[in-house]
Point group: C2
Chain length 438, copies 2
């Protein structure tokens, strides 16, 4: 490409899988990209753009580099769902240019998909599906599929619709191939079609694909009309996204970070560090409140971090279980009250065992079982409180519509620090006479 | 079913999607399951067993309830990969019975799949694929696919093999339908087939399916011979499993827990709580070492948990980023040294900013900028160390072959507590004269 050998480049590049084409393209600079646009037709780069793995807001910049007509042709060539993801980031002026340059029908399709809310079935779906009618026979259905095959993103399922486009059944290519050619579709179609409404949350879509092991899922509007399909590869992206969200939340960091340089990486991590630092200051202020107590009985200070740390671990465990529980589909969930009561019992039991263990450890180590008792009872209480809080907080956040996964891990640790310190010093205060510095 | 109405049950049950059948079946008790086996033929329950979502070690118990011949028929009816997952948990004696009752060919297939190591391509794959030859024409290939369609798990790709079963190409059903019937396969097949070796790690398999958006991936042995295919639904299970592993590791708990009762839940969480408690004791012992210092300057004790907590958060952030990084495929990874240097710079910068913030906060709050300076410099150092440790530890664990995700979150917090305390009291010791209790 650098040597401007157009022919050789064309031969080698077009021989590659689109995924590899896309990887090479992503590594090019603007001059070289310009040559790609010159050497290859819009048709030829269209599939590559479907496979590109950069963020849509970055891909849209490539469109700006192309002549408008060329860009419109690339968009026309792409699958609608992918094109729409990218065009959502185009400037209004550019978007208008592209839409005007597109064939009327495509432009209408794209305009419609641009309306759907992010993270819903509508935003995930594509309109390139295969539909057939119930009164066709297999050979005519296969003719139809042949005709649509070049454009359709997936031809493994053919959706059966009524005259006004209502979804009434589905047949697989397997059904079509294993039955005699003259069979009518209505006789072989599955009429209880599993589908999702267009405004369904993407996490629920992913769960349905998991449950039913489908390769694609039809999307219907409020009137049961077929409006699109969601393919399994887009569902995998959703699963990755949802999982990364939960995982990032537990760590208080965006783990999707692509750290071009350490400065940017630290700028991404600092907001949470500082927020948690300020929240942590509340615990510090609380300990400060007990400074007089500590100066009289410095042994108490020795165990603060053990109690806060262990309670924090228990809280994180219960939080992680709760968040995974929330990601289950509605029907599989247990009721909120039941979850909390069960976590209370779990916390009590775990607290008692851990408390007893530390009572013995400290008692033997310091030859002071009263100190051991104070630490043990504080730890048992702190663990119970943290465990219950770890299950209540995500439930409440979910109820009020906040994503419970956001930085929930460090948040729960900080909160449990605060309650643990409060519990510990209050209990210790009752037994003060035993610890006074001598 | 409770009323023993066999006919009515058959009609209603067989009308359901297998996923729903499986959900109902999982809720039945042993008596009712016995009736299901009586009312339905092995053929009819086979598909349901493919869709069952319980753990394989639980499903194998159902086989024990059935007459051996019936169980063998169910196994015969299931997809080989699913059957093998379950049979891996059968007792040797039962396994022998089943294998003897199966047709010779099936029994050989299953025996072979049972050999592959867990979490490799071999363990994920199934042997029900469609293979054709390069010198066939499309119409004869479609005939072959028709013949195999009923048994094959997925007929969307037809894999082209040489006479000695070497994988030389692939065609999609789309290719077959959109080209003239007399076209020879060799003219339309893609000859650079993306495949995975049979001993490939399952995480790499998932990454390939993600990258190439395939619905299935062929599996080859060392001699490039086609031995099976992996379907996208099994890959989704792998993605869920890998993600759950990372997530559970960060929280130090098995988030897959299905807590029948709180006692069992707490028994699952206690091992990590106790291990971390004992590790935490090392920090406590270290603080105890400085008790004399604390009794002289109790203000120092006030800030211990703020410093350990913030450093712990920074360590967890860097850990989470590192573990996500490791889950990327080999080619996308940055080198170890580069990662560590970059994390060092990130940690230094984040530490400096956070340290400066706390210097000001403490300085103003306590009207003591020397105290602020000690806290600030301690925190900056502790954050830097925790950030670097958070990236080194998973790298080292990965190198020596330990899964870096196991309880890594609480582990790094505990470790960073220890180093933070050490750093803090050593620095404070240098400035002791300023803090002596008056």
């Amino acid at each position: 490409l650098t040597e401007q050998k157009a022919k050789l480049f064309r031969r080698e590049y077009l021989d590659l899988h689109v995924h590899e084409q896309a990887q090479i393209f992503s590594d090019l600079d603007q001059t070289l990209r310009g040559r790609v646009y010159r050497y290859l037709s819009a048709n030829e780069v269209g599939d590559m753009f479907d496979a590109i793995e950069e963020e849509p807001e970055d891909v849209v910049k490539y469109f700006k580099e192309m002549p408008v007509q060329y860009a419109a042709k690339v968009i026309d060539e792409m699958y609608t769902d992918n094109a729409v993801d990218i065009l959502a980031y185009a400037q209004n002026k550019d978007l208008t240019h592209y839409l005007l340059a597109l064939p009327e029908e495509r432009s209408a399709e794209i305009r419609e998909l641009l309306h759907y809310e992010d993270k819903t079935a509508g935003a995930l779906m594509t309109t390139e599906y295969v539909d057939i009618f119930a009164d066709q026979d297999i050979s005519s259905a296969i003719q139809d599929i042949r005709a649509e095959a070049a454009d359709a993103e997936l031809i493994y399922y053919a959706y059966v619709v009524s005259d006004d486009n209502e979804l009434i059944g589905v047949v697989t290519l397997r059904d079509l191939l294993t039955n005699p050619e003259e069979t009518r579709i209505t006789d072989i179609m599955t009429d209880s079609v599993i589908s999702v409404p267009v405004d369904e949350d993407q996490a629920e879509v992913a769960q349905k694909v998991r449950d039913y092991n489908f390769v694609a899922l039809p999307v219907i509007d409020y009137a049961n009309k077929l409006v699109g399909i969601i393919n399994v590869d887009d569902v995998i992206d959703v699963i990755d996204e949802e999982n990364a969200g939960e995982y990032s939340g537990l760590a208080g960091v965006d783990t999707q970070e692509t750290p071009e340089n350490p400065l940017q990486a630290s700028l991404k991590r600092l907001p949470w560090l500082i927020i948690l630092l300020i929240m942590g200051m509340s615990t510090t202020t609380l300990i400060d409140h007990y400074e007089a107590l500590i100066s009289q009985a410095s042994i108490l200070a020795v165990f603060v971090s053990l109690i806060t740390g262990t309670a924090g671990n228990a809280g994180t465990q219960s939080l992680a279980v709760a968040i995974r529980g929330l990601s289950n589909s509605e029907e599989d969930r247990r009721s909120g009250i039941k979850t909390i009561l069960s976590e209370l019992a779990t916390g009590l039991f775990a607290g008692l065992v851990t408390g007893l263990a530390i009572l013995l450890l400290v008692g033997i180590w310091k030859h002071n079982f009263i100190l051991g008792f104070v630490i043990g009872i504080s730890m048992a209480t702190a663990i119970t409180v943290a465990t219950v809080a770890g299950s209540i907080i995500p439930l409440v956040m979910d109820k009020i519509g906040v994503d419970p996964a956001v930085a929930s891990g460090p948040f729960i640790s900080t909160l449990s620090d605060l309650t643990s310190v409060l519990i510990y010093f209050n209990i210790a205060n009752q037994f003060l006479n035993f610890f006074l510095n001598t």
